[in-house]
Amino acid sequence: MILKPFDVVLVFVSLITITLFFINTLSSDNSISYVKVEVEGKEYLYPLDRDETEVFNGSLGTTTVEIKDGSAAIIDSACTNKTCIQIGEINKNGESSACLPNRVLVTIIGKENSEVDVLAY
């Protein structure tokens, strides 16, 4: 017999750890998203997992974009109809919110659009 009792135990523990790691990797798959804000032709990029509040100057006045708990929302804008605030929170890849009168467009983009190849050994 080449295996001793605790060899089997350690192999099982190892298998369970690998499975947990796999589940963890899968579930965090789409969490690396970015918030792209376009204001009058200029683009700004913010990671979705960091809480931040940014103020942008559009053609009418200022638009405030809040990133909180993995969601982005326009919480204040200088427009008259306030449709952008009614859209509320966006958090999925491809979702967008906009304040058209102020020419501010907020989009969630996935990691495949922004991934940079940094490994070179």
């Binding site: 080449i2 001793k4 009792p5 060899d7 192999v11 190892s14 690998i18 796999f22 990797t25 050994y121």
Partner: protein, 169 residues
């Protein structure tokens, strides 16, 4: 016959360096995917040497192998030494707790898992959370190579006259 203990460290260290040189020659599909044959002497040291001497051997192996590979002043060395030390500590602890109810197969699997997890964790700190996507093939290959290396070490320990003569002393 009295065997000088420092001599055992240097013999095992030389063996580890030789094996890590062979490791460099073997082509790898992914840069980090190693077989880990250089860890055979370290696993042998678990039964021949004291824990302190095993740690010294691990440092000798990591520094020596990085000198040969030219990676000693790069991040690769940091991955190498942290992985080796953590797996060494885990194997020492398991060997001390489980004694004769565990063979080198279990220790090799546990050591490979620990070394890989530490290196993946380091990579996520240094390169961002995307680095853990390379982790799964590493962990699975670690399970396979760990058990193969463990089996080889078992064979080596049970058939080596040199090891038997040291253990009898």
């Amino acid at each position: 016959m009295h065997i000088n203990r420092n001599k055992i460290i240097s013999i095992l260290g030389a063996l580890a360096l030789f094996l890590s040189l062979i490791e460099y020659v073997i082509p790898k599909p992914i840069p980090f995917l190693k077989i880990g044959i250089a860890n055979i002497p370290i696993m042998i040291s678990l039964i021949l040497l004291t824990p302190k001497e095993t740690i010294i051997l691990i440092c000798v192996k990591s520094v020596g192998a990085s000198l040969i590979g030219g990676t000693i002043f790069s991040w690769v060395f940091l991955y190498s030494i942290s992985g080796s030390l953590s797996s060494g500590l885990v194997m020492l602890l398991l060997k001390r707790v489980l004694k004769e109810s565990v063979s080198m197969i279990g220790l090799g699997v546990a050591g490979a898992l620990c070394s890989n997890l530490v290196q993946i964790y380091l990579a996520t700190i240094l390169l961002g959370s995307g680095a853990k996507f390379i982790g799964l093939p590493l962990l699975i290959s670690g399970l396979i190579t760990g058990s193969i290396i463990g089996h080889l070490t078992n064979k080596f320990i049970s058939s080596s006259k040199w090891i038997r003569s040291i253990l009898l002393n």
